[in-house]
Subunit: 372 residues, 2 copies
């Protein structure tokens, strides 16, 4: 009698094992199942960027030029005119340029190890799942998807296909942000009592218009910037919020007709810590402030591409001369190579999406406390 | 026929005139009615401190030693043992030491021009009104009183007696705080869009215990520190809030059994500006942050006795080497001498109390938006 689970049952077996440690799923339980180069391979993994908007153009592609463990192998774009531009600028093979019709055929392309989904939010789930079904490892930009159900479907699809899934949480690769996480874990300044997290900017008229379309974005400032506030409160406490209350304010009813302009929200954590946050598309604020029972920490700016700076008690955290996106993509490439789980797996995005769903529910209920 | 209002009608006549400009009441309409020395007098006005707790002992009395327009002429205390200590330390005449039984006889003491009420909140209204009835000008510590009705009674009593009333809002006399007020008035950086104001401290066990007694304090962190947040949002916008939502959090149900430990609240202003605040007796935070349509300002610390520092855009606001309490008391003494209204009249405290009442109403209604 064969006591080892058969292939068809392996996923449910893993699922049973991974209860409570969802972040460490198939890839770590069965490293040999993880596709991609082996740990000892010096090969750079090939990344295909799906969607060539601002973030791909101005951040990810330049970052990949500096990367050590991956490179820009391909792109997926619906804009014909961009093909030649990207081919020439980054020396991408003609056969590694895809559009949304032939996207699934990426499955047979050995140059592409990782697909990075940088599309409008409404397309995150579909294109991540199709990438997984094509046998490619996946990085998906934040917010992970439109809702919890989509996040769960993405995680399931990646498990099913034995590929890794990671969310574009670049700040987990920033050394100063990691210092804040370390304090949450080691508690040298006592209990974490309070987190103030702010992530806002004044949206000009030159940004991707889809961000102002609820059908494509799923929401406004909350989906785009509020995620940073939620992330910050989660990593500054090292805990998952158990309840949330939220409030909405709007001044420009034309520009922000269908999406939230400004939202404030408060979260409660199991230890008794709580947070207060503001996120907006129409003000400037970018800060993480933590009050410990025996100390203080702050990062300001807390989410800027150019560098995070701040202090923990008297210790100054100078901005680190690193490219956050490069470190993030190299980090994921190494996870894939070594078959170790990403430090920002799909479960990290799912946790944030659970908070976002509760946040919107609280808004709908006029600010009532909603248990997460 | 006499068309001028007779003495007995003068107050109602003034009341009619002052609708909408309540801050500029009897004293300015009829400067000759204001008691105290004349504008040209070099005489220092005599101040009597009512209540010799921490604030009188550690801040006000030392500040009065440096004052140019007033001096510590007397004290009112219920603690017999303090009488000799204060008499000796500050050279106070024996006849200028009062207790709560003979307090009203202060009326016949020409040494006392101003009574400064530094008692627990529940006693503010009574002792301010009795001072006014004794013909003395009044400074009352913040929060002005327990509720709006008490504030209105205090204002009425001072008008009736033709004495000035001022609230202990020392920050209006701080040069850096005044820079923030100036930006709100002159708007060099466009509209005021957002204010984050935070005023919290971790309450030890050595503070006046009355602060934890709702009967005496009227509330917890909101009454003591939340007032700073409300003040800051009001002077950073130069507007009166029109609506508020508030949320309460508690971790220490023993220590803060009857009073609020931590409260967050959001206010809306007529121009479209809004604010988010945290006030607490159990965390550390002390900041004013303002986002303008074309700029930023911040003060941190924003309420510290030792000095306020910050920046407005690229301009650094260094802490000013001033004693806030000295400037506040000298400023009021000059207002009395010249018969000009205080820059922090009773109406300023009343405005904050209207917000506080709405804040507590919102808390009672589970965070619902309450129109102020």
């Amino acid at each position: 009698m064969n006591t080892a689970p058969r292939n068809v049952d392996r996923r449910s077996f893993v699922k049973g094992l991974s209860t409570g440690i969802a972040a460490f799923s198939a890839a770590s339980a069965f490293p040999s199942l993880a596709r991609g180069a082996s740990a000892s391979s010096p090969k750079k993994l090939g990344i295909a960027l799906v969607g060539l908007g601002n973030y791909s153009t101005k951040q990810l592609a330049p970052a990949l030029e500096e990367a050590t463990d991956c490179y820009l192998a391909g792109v997926v774009t619906g804009t014909k005119s961009k093909e030649a531009v990207w081919r020439e600028k980054y020396g991408i093979k003609r056969s590694n340029i895809y559009n949304y019709e032939n996207y699934d055929s990426i499955a047979s392309n050995p140059d592409i190890d990782i697909v990075y989904v940088v599309l409008p939010n409404s397309m995150h789930a579909e294109y991540s799942i199709r990438a997984a079904n094509a046998g490619k490892h996946v990085i998906c930009e934040k917010p992970m998807a439109m809702n919890v159900a989509e996040c769960e479907a993405m995680i399931a699809a990646c498990k099913k296909n034995n590929v890794q899934l990671s969310i574009g949480y670049r700040l987990h690769f920033d050394p100063n942000t990691r210092e804040i996480m370390k304090v949450a874990k080691e508690k040298p300044y006592g209990d974490i009592q309070y987190v103030q997290s702010e992530a806002s900017f004044i949206m000009g008229n030159n940004l991707d218009a889809w961000r102002l379309d609820r059908e494509l974005a799923g929401g406004g400032a909350v989906m785009d910037m509020g995620v940073y506030c939620i992330q910050a409160a989660r990593y500054a406490t090292g805990e998952e919020p158990i309840a949330i209350r939220s409030q909405e304010f709007k001044t420009d009813w034309n520009k922000f007709k269908n999406v939230d302009e400004t939202v404030t929200f408060q979260m409660e954590f199991p230890s008794g810590a709580y947070s207060n946050s503001t996120t907006s598309y129409n003000i400037r604020s970018n800060r993480l402030y933590v009050s410990y029972s025996k100390g203080l920490a702050q990062l300001e700016p807390a989410t800027k591409y150019g560098g995070i700076k701040g202090s923990i008690q008297d210790r100054i955290l100078d901005p680190q001369p690193i490219n956050q996106q490069r470190r993030q993509m190299d980090g994921f490439a190494r996870s894939v190579k070594t078959g170790t789980p990403s430090i920002v797996p799909g479960e990290e995005g799912l946790a944030d999406m659970k908070v976002i769903e509760a946040l919107y529910k609280s808004l709908q209920q006029g600010g009532k406390r909603v248990v997460i």
